[in-house]
Structure formats: structure tokens, C-alpha cells
């Protein structure tokens, strides 16, 4: 039993970078639940934190786009973005190459996985870390699922990946926490930035908290694009968390659209 935590959260760059433009009461209520998540992670005394993200062309491009990739380095750096824009100073983030290698070897028995000995974090990982490990003293293992450059990773494979990640974590002597970060509906980086389909999000979170595999896999990209925007493709990361939770149910600690953060801000945890 070395899989000690499983949760999801938002990662929009506005969460830190445009903090001053948000409604203070809503923003601080969101931050409070991120702090609660940090405390929950810390209470499990993890040896490493796996962050499954939907990165945004910081490391992977259409010249060689992996469906799944995992970092295998002793340290990483981030953010790649302008520090003032993201309001997170550039820093070195500790990793654990040896543990990464063992996790990758285990996952590879079930799901083909690219590995990367270099990885520059973008806001997709740095924003969660800013709240969850603000002292950068917990080794991080980054994972990417291709949610950006079609053809995208199929949801059925995302589920298989989440299950494989759980099996791998269970087999490690280290205590491993998992945070998956993405969507839900949003239209980031378009003129529609700030739009959120709250009803769609709440329906997704209902499926997620029930950990209803069939319902979570019952999305197709055309409908997601129509109803949840291209940012909705990032539900892949959240679905991986549900699979890793292996039938456990979840609870939503926070959900509220914050338009200046360009996303329905979410903090939710599986009761593993």
C-alpha cells in the first residue's frame, strides 16, 4: 500500500498570474481548498508526487508527440513562461530519476510510455506545485498525456494508463501521491477565454466522484470540443486519476467558475 493520495486540481496560469484581477472572496476560497489539499498530501508523508498534466508545448511538439510521457530526471526546472506573467519565480524542482525508472518500467508492461530525462515545467505543473509543494522539497515525477495536438490520446488508453500507474505505485516501497491536473470545460487562449460550461463541468464531476468508468469514457472529442472547448480535452488527466483510484469514490472540495482564471476552478480528491 504505497499509493497514498489521489486528487485533481486546476492549473490555469491565471490562478497565479492574474490573482489580483479575481474576486477576492472566491479566489481565496479556492486557494483555501488548495491549501487543504497540500495539508492532505503532507499528512500522507509521501516520498514522491506524480503530477499528471496536460502540458502545452513546453517539451513535446508535433515532430514527435508521445501519447504518454514520464519524466526520469533528478531535477527539473520551471516555469518556462515569463516569471512575472505567471507570478511564479523560475526554480529548480527536485525529481527522483531512480524511482521514475522503476515506475516507468512497471507501467510499460501495460501501456507504452515515452520517458524524458529533460523536462521544463510549464504552468500546467508549476501552478499546482506552487500551492501543493510551495517549498519545492518533495520529489516530483511529471507525466504528460497528449491533450493538445490531435490525434489525441484515446480515453480508453487513458483509463488503462491510470490503472497501470496504480499498479506501478502499489509495487513501489516508496509512498507515492498522485495529482492530476487539467480542464474541465474551458476555452483557454482563444477570444472566448473566460467562458466555462458549468453544467457540463458539474456533470463531469458527478461521473468522476462516482468513479463511473463507463460514464467517464462516454465522451467523444467532437462533442467535447462543442460543449467544453478545446480545453475540455484535458479531461484525460482527470480520468486517469479516476482509474488510478481503482473504484474508490471521490468528493469535490471546490468547484466554481472564475472567468479571469479561464476555468471552472476545481479541487477534488478520491477516498482511496
Amino acid at each position: 500500500m504505497s499509493f497514498v493520495f489521489c486528487g485533481i486540481c486546476s492549473h490555469g496560469p491565471g490562478i497565479t498570474g492574474r490573482a489580483g484581477r479575481a474576486d477576492v472572496a472566491v479566489r481565496d476560497a479556492f486557494y483555501a481548498q488548495l491549501a487543504r489539499m497540500r495539508e492532505a498530501i503532507e499528512s500522507t508523508k509521501p516520498d514522491a508526487l506524480i503530477v499528471v498534466a496536460a502540458e502545452h508545448f513546453a517539451n513535446f511538439f508535433m515532430d514527435n508527440m508521445p501519447a504518454f510521457a514520464m519524466g526520469m530526471a533528478d531535477d527539473y526546472e520551471g516555469p518556462i513562461e515569463d516569471e512575472d506573467w505567471l507570478a511564479i519565480p523560475r526554480t529548480k524542482v527536485p525529481g527522483n530519476a531512480a524511482l521514475s525508472k522503476r515506475v516507468i518500467e512497471a507501467v510499460m508492461h501495460d501501456v507504452d510510455l515515452a520517458y524524458a530525462e529533460e523536462w521544463k515545467f510549464d504552468h500546467g505543473i508549476m501552478v499546482p506545485l506552487h500551492f501543493l509543494t510551495p517549498r519545492y522539497d518533495l520529489p516530483v515525477i511529471p507525466v504528460n498525456i497528449n491533450c493538445q495536438g490531435p490525434p489525441l490520446t484515446p480515453l480508453s488508453r487513458v483509463w488503462a494508463f491510470g490503472e497501470a500507474l496504480r499498479r506501478a505505485a502499489d509495487a513501489m516501497p516508496e509512498r507515492i501521491a498522485l495529482v492530476c491536473t487539467g480542464g474541465i470545460s474551458h476555452w483557454p487562449c482563444t477570444p472566448d477565454s473566460g467562458k466555462v460550461n458549468e453544467a457540463w463541468d458539474r456533470d463531469f464531476l458527478d461521473r468522476w466522484t462516482r468513479n463511473d468508468r463507463a460514464a467517464l469514457l462516454d465522451y467523444d472529442d467532437a462533442a467535447v470540443y462543442r460543449d467544453a472547448g478545446q480545453g475540455g480535452f484535458e479531461i484525460r488527466t482527470l480520468i486517469a486519476a479516476a482509474a488510478a483510484a481503482r473504484g474508490a469514490k471521490g468528493s469535490v472540495w471546490f468547484y466554481e467558475p472564475i472567468p479571469i482564471f479561464a476555468v471552472g476552478c476545481t479541487v477534488a480528491v478520491m477516498d482511496i
Binding site: F61, D63, G149, C189, G229
Partner: protein
């Protein structure tokens, strides 16, 4: 269209400070390294965010780029809207106008905006 090359240039700009220095100090030499069309090359040279969006540059690449050139958030969103007015709909890539645009988040019009209801029950 050489959208692939244009996006690859922006990928390199976003993750490599040395490429940003080359764009600043010797743009012609840098841009020669990428198989860009004239319109794409001019859009980069002019920092024309609206045209880059219309040409189909993935918004995630474009957002990081606008941060480096110091565009404020509302101006960045406005630049994309102006690009569509000036140059027409997005021509390629996965980003396209899917809705009647709501007010820009963080502006005074935002509070009066009623978001569209979900079609997904």
C-alpha cells in the same frame, strides 16, 4: 500554408531564451531557419498576435509568446478578436471561433454577462 514551421518557431521561442535573443538581435537569420510563408514571416516580425491566431497558431503557443512580448491579458484577448475582424476566421489548426464571444474576463463588462447554458444534461 506552413503552419507547422510557424508553430515550431514559436515552440522554440517559448522554451529557449537564446532563440528569443536571436529574434531580437538578428531576426532575418533566425526566420530563415524556418520554412515560413511571407504572411507568417511578416506576422512574427510585426508581433501581430491577431494574425498569428488567424493563421492557426495553437493558442497555447501564442499565449506564452504574448507573455514574453509583454502584452497585457485583456489586450491579448482583444488582439485575437481584432485579428478575426481584420483577417477573417481562423484558417487552420484546432482553434476556431465556436461561439459568440462573451465579454473579456476581468473587464467591467464581465459581471453583466450570462454564460450560455449547457447543452449537455
Amino acid at each position: 500554408m506552413s503552419l507547422y514551421a510557424l508553430q515550431k518557431l514559436m515552440y522554440h521561442l517559448n522554451r529557449d531564451p537564446k532563440v528569443r535573443e536571436r529574434l531580437r538581435d538578428d531576426p532575418d537569420t533566425l526566420l530563415d531557419d524556418y520554412a515560413l510563408g511571407t504572411e507568417e514571416r511578416n506576422a512574427i516580425a510585426a508581433r501581430d498576435v491577431g494574425l498569428l491566431y488567424v493563421l492557426g497558431v495553437n493558442g497555447q503557443l501564442l499565449m506564452h509568446y504574448t507573455a514574453f512580448i509583454g502584452l497585457e491579458w485583456p489586450q491579448y484577448l482583444q488582439a485575437m478578436r481584432d485579428g478575426i475582424v481584420t483577417h477573417g476566421p481562423v484558417r487552420a489548426g484546432i482553434y476556431a471561433m465556436t461561439t459568440v464571444a462573451p465579454p473579456i474576463a476581468g473587464t467591467k463588462d464581465e459581471d453583466a454577462f450570462v454564460p450560455p447554458r449547457a447543452s449537455h444534461a
